[in-house]
Every structure is written in C-alpha cells, then in structure tokens.
C-alpha cells in the first residue's frame, strides 16, 4: 500500500527527553490524531515529520519518497507537507492576502481573495494579524498551509487559541478542505473531543512512545491499555494488588490478569458503576457531586484517591457515603505498553 506518511524507528533526543523509537503509517486520505498528555512527545513527533526538529534515527517517507533516513534529511520546504501552527504563527507585518501570496508566489490577488473566501475569511484579505480574531488568524494559518498545495497536512493543536463558538466551524472547515484536496491530515492534540471530531484513526502517545494506534471507534470501545482508556474514554484507573498466582485483587474483588500488579490498573469507564445507599460488602465512596442524568443521577465520588463516575437512581447529596457496584465484568489492563510498535 502507498502510504501518505510512513515512519520507521523514528527517534529524536531533545535534552533529557527522548522520542521513540516510533513506527507508524498513515493512509493516503487518512485523518489521524496523535493524542497524549503534555510532554508525551506528540508535538516533537509532528515536528520531526515536518523536518522542523532533527530526528537522530529512523526513516520517514512521504508518499513513498524518503525525506529522512540515516544518510540525510530533506529540508522542510521540500517535503510537500503543510503545517498549521498552534497560534497561527502568522507574520505580523503582512496582510492576509500577502500571507497566501508568499506561500504560493503564482497566486494573483483575485485568487488569494477567492481562497480566503473559501476559508471563510474573505473580509480580512487586507488586514494584518493584529486586526484579526483568534479564529480568523487560525483560518488564515490553515489557508496559508494549503496554499502551497501540500500532499499531507500537519496540524499542531490548531484549536487551542480558538474560542469555543468557533471551534466547530473550524473543525468542519479542516475536514472539508482536506476532503476536497484528497490529502491526509495528521493532527496533534491533547483534547479528546478535538481528536474525535477531526480524526478517524488515533495514535496514543505516552512518555515519548506510541502506546496504541488504531481506529478511533476500536480504541474507544476496547482500549488495549488503561492509559488509553483514561485518556480517550475518561476512565478512572485504580491500582490493583498482587494476589495468588495469575490473579490480582481489586477494590471490587479478585480477577485473573497477566503481568506485574504494579503495572496493571482496574479500568472503570463512565457508566460501569452504580451508586446505591450502603448496604452490602461493596466498596464505599464519598459523593462529591450529583447531577440529573437520563432517568436518574450521575454521581461523582471519591474512591481510593480518584474520582469515579456512577449512576444513581436517587439524588445523593455531596458528602454522603455510597456503595459502588459494577455493572460489567472487571476489566484490568496494563497501564501502558509499547506493543503498538
């Protein structure tokens, strides 16, 4: 298969931080999101692909063409990649149309205005960045990247400086423009909702390594790691203790699990728990908030130093003790793994 982007054994050292080795491939029209907490290396990975950060090892191919290997690296402007920066990274002394004409020198004034209009910012053609809103600036950053007709679009947290009302419109615009041009997009974000809105495929990073990679629906429904479940599904991950051979003890009882206990977590997805008034032997938690939800209440309760979500039939006041019961079988997963390499 001809991939839009392929990385093999990519490694990059930045001070004490080490990225990788990372290997993955992105399909020709795929929409991929690289997610992970701050400091997980997702931006470094994107910048290595773009050539803005120098990788120490590994091979990068863009549509089959080697742009980086152990013999050398192609300069960023020759890789055929577009890059949308966090805060737009606009040039303060240039107007919007000048931005596009710098990116694509052959563009006439009319063509640049038409392109800006396609991005929904035709009215700012003669304005400088200081006279634009955050959303307009980010749209301009997007149109500037697309003006050079890249083969792959890289987006580094593009919605971070955009206010909530403009986010949806920008998400839709990115999807439409990528579809129109038939190009792959790789998005970096630490926001789960942003990732799910812009991508069909997700790559989860932690500690400089890729811990999971797969379709968004698969990772949401059956994550392979507790970290991915917590990050993508909002799951609470509770520690487990070693029990007899092949078994671990959790707050909800024993279950069989492979691996070292200190590397395992009990994964509690939202909706896995029911809160009832204390009556049986189930673990007790203290309610900290209660809001009406569907045909009952959604309770937030403190359990073993973490906040878990549970359904309750009746309203439970903050401070009251509740007993938690599982609605699904126990799920114990390793915290992270590098098995997606």
């Amino acid at each position: 298969m001809n991939y839009a982007v392929e990385a093999e054994g990519l490694q990059c050292d930045k001070g004490s931080f080490r990225l990788g080795p990372c290997s993955f491939a992105v399909g020709p029209r795929a929409r991929v999101a690289i997610v992970g907490p701050s400091g997980s290396g997702k931006s470094t990975l994107l910048r290595c692909l773009a050539g803005l950060d120098r990788a120490n090892k590994g091979v990068i191919r863009v549509h089959g063409q080697v742009v980086r290997d152990d013999h050398g690296a192609m300069s960023p402007d020759r890789r055929g990649l577009g890059f949308v920066f966090q805060d737009g990274a606009l040039w303060p002394h240039m107007t919007a149309s000048q931005h596009l004409r710098f990116a694509a020198p052959g563009l006439s004034q009319e063509q640049s205005c038409a392109m800006l209009s396609r991005g929904g910012i035709g009215h700012v053609a003669d304005r400088r960045p200081a006279e634009m809103s955050g959303g307009e600036a980010q749209r301009l950053g997007l149109m500037r990247a697309l003006a050079a007709e890249p083969r792959v679009l890289l987006l580094d947290e593009p919605l971070r400086s955009v206010d909530v009302h403009q986010r949806d419109a920008l998400v839709l615009l990115v999807r439409e423009l990528a579809d129109e041009r038939g190009i792959a997009t790789i998005l970096v974000t630490h926001d789960r909702d942003e990732a799910l809105a812009l991508a069909d495929e997700i790559l989860v990073m932690h500690g400089g390594r890729i811990v999971e990679h797969g379709p968004a629906t698969t990772l949401l429904q059956s994550p392979g790691t507790a970290f991915a479940a917590a990050f993508l599904g909002g799951a609470a991950c509770l520690p487990v203790d070693a029990s007899r051979d092949g078994f671990v003890a959790t707050a909800f009882g024993e279950t069989n699990a492979r691996g070292e206990a200190k590397m395992l977590r009990l994964v509690l997805m939202p909706g896995d728990l029911i809160a009832v008034p204390p009556s049986g032997d189930g673990p007790r938690a203290r309610a900290i908030a209660s809001v009406p939800h569907e045909d009952g209440y959604r309770i937030r309760a403190a359990l073993l130093g973490q906040i878990v979500l549970a359904q309750a039939a009746t309203c439970i006041r903050p401070g009251e003790e509740v007993e938690l019961r599982l609605r699904r079988p126990l799920r114990v997963l390793p915290w992270t793994t590098a098995n997606a390499q």
């Binding site: 920066f85 805060d87 710098f102 990116a103």
Partner: protein, 536 residues
C-alpha cells in the same frame, strides 16, 4: 547536490560575518594574548607577577576602581532619577523629557569634560568622577526606562492594593533591578575603560592616573622606540582590566537577557508625583543640563569667542569662527561623517546574520561579538595595529590597507558590532520562532524568506542600532587615536585643537558634529512620525 549548494548559499552571509569577526576581533585579541605569553622580546607570564608587585600599577588599579565606583554613583543619581520621574509619571513635559534620556549619549565624554573644564577648575578625583558619571549616565537611564516600560503593570497594582504606594514603589525598584544593575555595569565598564577624559584632564592639572591611561602611556612609549625588554607590555598591563571587564560584561548581559524574557502584559499605570510634581523637574533639568546643555553652551561660547580674552563675544567673531572651521575643520568633519555612516551601514550588514544566529540560541556567537565592549577601545586599537601592521594578515590584506580608510572602517565596525548584535538579537528573540518555522515549511528560497519574513520585524531595531552606532562612531576618540586613517576625524582633531588654543573653530566643528549626531536618529520621527521613545 543542489540542496547542499542552496544550504551553503543560505549560510554565506553568516560565514562572511564570522570571518569578519575572526579577522578583526578574535585575531587582534588573540595576538595580544599571545604576546603576553610568547614574545620575542622575552616577555613571559613572569611579567604578570611583576605587574602585581608594582606599586604604581596597584595604585592605578585602585584609582580606576575608585573612579568607576564614584562615577557610577553619579550615573545612578542622574540617570536613574531621570528615568524614574519621567516614565509612567505625571511630570510636566514628561512625554518629551522621557525620550530625551538618551540625548546625553550623543555628546562625547570629551565634550562634557571640555565644557566643564571651561567653566570650573576640574582638577582632582571628584570632578573627573562627576564628568565621567555624567557622560555615562544614559546607560543607567535608558535601561531603567526600558525596565519600567516592560514591566507587568498588574504586579504593581497588586502590590499597591496589598501594601500601599510606598511598598509598591519599592516593589517596582526590585522588579527593575536586573536592568538597573546591567545599566550600572555598563556605565562602570565604560568609565573604567575610558582613557580620553582622564588623559584630557591630565593636561588641566591632574596628579593621579588611571589604569587605562597607564596602558596607553606604555603603548605610546613603546611606539616612540622605547623597548619593553624590561618593561611590561601594554597588553600584559591591560590583562587584569580586561578580565574584570569581561566578567562584568558577562554579568550585565546575563541580567539584561533575563530582563528580555519578561513579557509585556499590561502597561504600568500612571503614578502621580503628588506634591513632587513640579520639584521633580529638577532631576531632568540636572541630568540634561549637565549632560547636554553645559557642553553645548560652552561650545557655543567658544564659537562666539569666549576663549579670546582680548575682545568680547560677538556674532562677528562667530562668523570668523565659522569661516575658520570651514577652512580647517570641515574635511575632518566629513571624514567623521563618512566613517560613521560607513560604520553604521557595515555594522548592520555584518550584524544581522550574527544577531539572527545569536537570537536563536547561538550564545557563543553573542559572547564572541560582545568581546569588543569588554576590551577598552584603546586596547582593541592596539591589537588591530599589531595585527595589520605586519605579519601574515598584513601581507594578505596588503600593506596599503593599514594606512587606509578601509582599516579604520573595519576597526570601527569591530568596535561597535556588539551594540548592533545585542540589540538585534534581543529583537530576534521577541519574534516567535513558529512564525519563522511557518516560512521554512513553504517552498520559497532562503533569500525570499530572509527579505520577506525575517527582515521586516527587525527593521525598527535595526534602525535604532545603526543610529546608535552612527552616534557612537562620531564621538569615538580612543580608536581614532590609534588607527592611522582615523587620526583625521573631527573628535580627534578637536581633542588636540583645544590644547593649542583653537577653541573658536573647534566649538563650531563640535556643534556641527553634535547636530549631525542628533539629526540621523531623529529622522524617522521627523519623516514617519515614529515615537521618540522608540530610540531608547
């Protein structure tokens, strides 16, 4: 292959600039250093030991340190108070007086000395300290003003809400401490390295000598044929001074760099002076009066004939003075102007690629370019003379180079390169890296990126830096004394002329020189309406 060639072309300006620094900064300084440890005249490190044992040298070091500290007090008294009462205050005429804080920098220290020497008997330590303190007060003033302008006003307001006005003002002083200390260090550095003013005052009856004077006197004795077989070389003599200055410069740059990292968030609120509103005018009056008005007043008096005791001052005498100035001084003035313009232009061409590298993490480049500030100008001049008067570099450039204007220009550029590199590097740091990375992602040539993306945000700072270099070149005396072609510049001629009772036309030339020095920095304000404050 083509990509590699493009890379090299893109690096060519930086390589050329580094080559210049190597030839005209590093090579002279290394040669000086080499001579201290391996001289054919038998000079060895032993000379250093002897130097410290010499009571005369110890006395000079002590005199320099005392002079530096005393004049620093004067600089703080004048410069700090001027900035303090004019920035963010309701001082009458504060908007005009604030930007004028940089004005005394235009007046060469030798003019300040000449001015005061004409009005008062300036013999002894304290008058010298006051003169040098006055001349170097702009370093304190400009950096303190910059600190006040770049502060986050919300921090002051928080202190005001919590502890009242007095404590809030104290908080403000603490907040601008890095800039204040950096300004003090620069003022101290320039005072200790100055040889022109103490040497000028020697003629007027001074009985004590500074260290840089000692260095220069050794050099001149050596130049007229005295061997230094049993004498310490001027370079060896200067070594402790350079070490001390380098340390101070390093500290000053570090403090200034830390101040750069502070982002502007909210402007400092206007702080009322209350009952001190009108009396506070005394501070700017004193600062500008001593630094600008007194020298200009004396120069104007000279032009009118004050030095001629036989007849009263008159406009007729002014006409005569002007005529004499045209006949005897204008060629030197034109030399000064062309040299200063050439220096300002070359400093920009060489400084831009260096500043870009320095601003993007090239601390070594920044440190290398800053060396000429730490070295007294007289010493850099001596190093240049030694390097290009004989030896392989002299052969490479041709022996005619040493006597020509090209050599003087190169020396001036080397001397003032740090001002351009440090100013522009600070500006480069303020431009977000992402904006430049965005340009790197686009398929455009390095030249297109440099001209369209990198250069425009630097233009205001580039203008300020070149204006500063122009002014400093016009007033440079120490290098003019040593470099052959620069001997015929206006400042050098003026310093000599007053010794020979030529105050009349010297006054006119000096006034013309000051007018030109003021005019160039003011051009953007006059033509484009740019704020005066941007100059500082």
């Amino acid at each position: 292959m083509a990509a590699r060639a493009r890379d090299w072309i893109a690096r060519a300006p930086f390589c050329a600039a580094i080559l210049f620094v190597v030839c005209f900064v590093v090579a002279p300084m290394l040669l000086l250093l080499w001579q201290t440890i391996d001289s054919q005249d038998g000079l060895t490190l032993v000379a250093w030991r002897e130097l410290f044992a010499d009571p005369q040298d110890r006395a000079r070091v002590w005199a320099s340190a005392q002079l530096g500290l005393a004049s620093l007090c004067v600089s703080i008294g004048l410069g700090f108070t001027h900035a303090w009462v004019t920035v963010g205050r309701d001082l009458p005429l504060g908007r005009v007086l604030g930007p004028l804080g940089i004005a005394p920098l235009v007046v060469p220290p030798i003019f300040v000395a000449m001015g005061f020497a004409d009005l008062f008997p300036v013999a002894g330590f304290w008058p010298c300290a006051i003169l040098l303190g006055t001349a170097h007060a702009p370093f304190v003033c400009v950096l303190v003003a910059r600190g006040l302008r770049s502060l986050d006003g919300r921090g002051y307001e928080a202190a005001l809400m919590l502890r009242g006005r007095g404590r809030a003002e104290l908080w403000l002083v603490r907040a601008i401490l890095p800039e204040l200390i950096a300004g003090c260090m620069l003022a101290f550095l320039f005072t200790v390295a100055d040889h022109g003013v103490p040497e000028f005052l020697t003629v007027k009856g001074k009985t004590w000598h500074t260290y840089s004077e000692g260095v220069f006197s050794r050099w001149t004795r050596r130049a007229v044929g005295t061997t230094f077989a049993d004498r310490q070389s001027p370079i060896v003599a200067a070594a402790p001074l350079v070490m001390a200055l380098l340390t101070m410069l390093w500290l000053a740059l570090k403090l200034r760099g830390r101040a750069d990292e502070r982002g502007v968030r909210a402007e400092l609120p206007l702080r009322p002076l209350g009952g001190w509103r009108w009396p506070s005018l005394l501070f700017p009056a004193l600062y500008l009066g001593a630094g600008v008005l007194v020298p200009v007043f004396v120069l104007a008096r000279w032009a009118l004939g004050s030095a001629q005791k036989a007849e009263p001052m008159s406009l007729a005498f002014l006409r005569q003075s002007f005529q004499k100035a045209v006949d005897q001084g204008v060629p030197d003035l034109m030399h000064s102007i062309w040299l200063a313009l050439g220096t300002a232009a070359c400093v920009l061409l060489i400084g831009l690629p260096l500043a870009r590298r320095a601003g993007r993490g090239g601390r070594l480049v920044e440190a290398l370019c800053a060396v000429p500030i730490a070295s007294p100008a007289i010493l850099l001049g001596i190093g240049l003379v030694l390097t290009y008067n004989s030896g392989p570099l002299a052969e490479l450039f041709g022996y005619g180079f040493y006597d020509g204007w090209g050599f003087a220009l190169a020396g001036y550029v080397a001397r003032f390169l740090p001002f351009c590199v440090l100013t522009l590097a600070a500006q480069v740091r303020r431009v977000p890296l992402a904006a430049e990375e965005a340009a790197r992602m686009l398929p455009r040539s390095a030249l297109a990126r440099a001209l369209t993306i990198h250069l425009p945000p630097l233009l205001p700072a580039a203008w300020s830096a070149s204006a500063l270099v122009f002014v400093l070149s016009l007033r440079e005396l120490d290098l003019a004394v040593v470099l052959p072609a620069a001997n015929s510049t206006a400042v050098r001629r003026l310093a000599n002329a007053v010794h020979f009772q030529h105050e009349d036309w010297s006054g006119v030339i000096a006034l013309l020189l000051l007018s030109i020095a003021v005019l160039l920095p003011l051009l953007p304000s006059l033509i484009a309406g740019r704020k005066l404050a941007s100059l500082s």
